[in-house]
Amino acid sequence: MKNQKRWGLFFFLSPVLLWLFLLIVLPHIDLLAMSFRIENDDGQMVWSLSNYLNFFEEPIYWLTFVRTAIFSILVTFLTFVIALPVAFYITKVVAPKFQGFLLVLLLLPFWVSELVRVYGWMILLRESGVINHFLIKLGLLNQPIEMLYKDATMILGLVYTSMLFMVVPITSVLDSLDNSLIEAAYDLGANMWTILFKIIIPHATPGIVSGSIVVFMLTLGNYLTPNLMGGKNSLWFTEQIYNQFIASFNWNQGSAFGFLLLVLSSIVVWLGLKLTRQNLRKVVQ
C-alpha cells in the first residue's frame, strides 16, 4: 500500500513539476536576471540597473506604461458595466426556455480567433468600411471618415475581445443567486438600485473579481488588438516589448519592460483580491 502510494505521487508529480519549473519558474527567473544585464562598451555582459533607469528616464516608455495601465483598468470597468445587465438578463429575466440558447449564443463568438474578430471590426470601421458605406448611403455623411486608429476604437476592440471572460463568471455566480432573495428584498420594500447594490453585486463579487482579473490581465498583455485597431497611435506597452525584442533586438531592455509589466499585472491582481477580500483559489473555482 505504502509503496503504491509513493509510486502514484511520483507518477503524478513529475510531469507537473517538469511543466511548472521548466516552463514557468525558470523562464521567469531568467527574465528577471536578463533584465539586470547589459552589454558594456567592450561587448561583455555585465550586471546593471540601466535597463530600468532607461525606462524611467525616457518619458515615452513610462508614459506608455501608465497609459496602458489606465486604459486596461478602464476597459475592465467598461466590460463589467456592459456584461452585468446581460448576465442578469440571461440568468434572471428571460424565460427559462431561451436561457440555454442565449448562453450558447453568448459564448459562440469567442470560440473564433481573436484575429478574426478584430479583422471583422476593421472591415466595419475603416475608411472604406461597411459603416462608412451605409452612413454615406443614408446621407448622414458626405465624406467617409477614418474610425480606426483612435483610442475609442481601440477600447471598443479591447472590450469586445475580453467580454467573454467577464460574462461567463458573472453569469455563473448570478445563476447561483437564489431568486427568493431578490423577491424577499422587493417584498421588504427595496427598490431596484438597492437590490442591485445590496443583494446582487455582493453576491456576484467572486465572479466579478475573477472576471475582472482575467480581463485586466488579458487587456494588459494584449498585443494584437491595440496593434491592429489602434495602429501607430495605440502606444500600448506590449508593443514596446515587441519592438525591443524583435525590432531592436535589445533583449535585456525588453526583459526589463516585460518584468515591469508582470509586476504591474501582479500588483493590480493582488490589490483587486485584497480590496474585495477574495483569494485566488476561490476565484478560479
Partner: protein, 284 residues
C-alpha cells in the same frame, strides 16, 4: 425585476432592447466578415458586387482562393499540428495535475498549486518572451559547453507547442480537477474490493468518470491553441501558425481571401464548440 416579479412594460422593453443591442455588437463583425467572403470584389468592403465563391475556389493570377493559397494552407496545417500536440500534452499533464492536487498529499502542495495557477495571471506576451529567453539561454549553454546544437531551443514549431502548453495545461488541470472533486471515492474502494489493482482502478473507474471533462477540456485546449497569438508571436520560427500568418496579411493590407479563411474558421470552431457543448450537456 426578475421574471417571477411583476415588472413595468418600459423596463422590459428597455432591457430587451439593450440585450438585442449587445448581441448585435457581438455578432456584427463576424457576420460582416462572413458575408464579404462571398462578395465578388477585389477588396473586403462594400458595395456588393454579386455573389461568388471564387475566394474559396479560384486559382487565377489576380484572385487565388483559399483552397489554392499554398501559404495560408500551410499555416493552417502548422496550426493543426501545433494544436494537436498542445492538446495531447496538456490533456496528459492536466490530468496528472488534477490527480496530484485532488488526491495526493505532499509537502509544499499549496505552493505548487499557487504556481500552477500563475499562468492564469501572467500576460501571454510575458510567457512568450520568458520562454524565448530561457530556451535561448539553454541553447547557448548547450552549444558553448558541449558543442551540441539543439533545435528545440530555437524559435520554431516545438517552442510554440511548449509555450502554448505552458498556460493551456493550467486550464485543463482546473477543468479536470473540478470534475474529479465530484468523484465519489467509494467507487474506487468498491473497485479495489472487487479485485482491481490501483492502475486498473484509475483506468477503468476514475478515468472513465473523468473522460467527458478531459475531452471537453481537450476541445477547449485545441481551440485556444489554434487561435493563440500573443504567446506564439515571440516563439514562432519560419513555420507561421495561422493567426500569425493572418496578422501579417491584415497588417499589410488584405484581400477577401482572409474573409474566406475567417468564414471557414467561424464555421469550423462553431461546430467544434457546439459539439462540445452538446456532449457536455448530454453528460449532465
Amino acid at each position: 425585476m426578475i421574471r417571477t416579479l411583476p415588472t413595468s412594460k418600459t423596463y422590459n422593453r428597455c432591457f430587451k432592447f439593450y440585450v438585442v443591442l449587445y448581441f448585435t455588437f457581438l455578432f456584427a463583425p463576424l457576420l460582416v466578415t462572413c458575408i464579404l467572403a462571398f462578395n465578388d470584389s477585389q477588396f473586403p468592403s462594400l458595395p456588393w458586387k454579386g455573389f461568388t465563391v471564387e475566394w474559396f475556389t479560384a486559382d487565377l493570377t489576380e484572385r487565388v482562393g483559399i483552397f489554392h493559397d499554398q501559404i495560408n494552407l500551410d499555416s493552417i496545417w502548422v496550426s493543426f499540428r501545433v494544436a494537436f500536440f498542445v492538446t495531447l500534452l496538456s490533456m496528459i499533464v492536466g490530468t496528472c495535475g488534477a490527480f496530484l492536487f485532488e488526491q495526493e498529499d505532499f509537502r509544499y502542495k499549496q505552493l505548487l498549486y499557487f504556481l500552477m495557477l500563475c499562468p492564469l495571471v501572467i500576460p501571454g506576451v510575458i510567457l512568450g518572451i520568458s520562454i524565448l529567453l530561457f530556451s535561448n539561454t539553454l541553447g547557448t549553454y548547450f552549444e558553448t559547453n558541449w558543442n551540441i546544437d539543439v533545435d528545440l531551443f530555437r524559435p520554431g514549431f516545438w517552442l510554440v507547442v511548449l509555450g502554448q502548453f505552458s498556460f493551456i495545461a493550467t486550464l485543463v488541470t482546473l477543468v479536470v480537477s473540478a470534475r474529479l472533486r465530484k468523484f465519489d471515492r467509494t467507487l474506487e474502494e468498491a473497485a479495489l474490493n472487487l479485485g482491481a489493482n490501483r492502475l486498473e482502478v484509475i483506468w477503468f473507474i476514475t478515468l472513465k468518470f473523468l473522460r467527458p471533462a478531459i475531452i471537453g477540456a481537450g476541445a477547449v485546449a485545441f481551440l485556444m491553441s489554434f487561435e493563440n497569438f500573443n504567446t506564439t508571436l515571440f516563439l514562432v520560427g519560419y513555420q507561421a501558425t495561422l493567426p500569425i500568418n493572418l496578422y501579417l496579411q491584415v497588417r499589410d493590407g488584405s484581400t477577401p481571401v482572409i474573409n474566406a479563411i475567417s468564414f471557414l474558421l467561424i464555421v469550423g470552431t462553431s461546430m467544434v464548440a457546439l459539439a462540445n457543448l452538446y456532449f457536455s450537456r448530454k453528460e449532465t
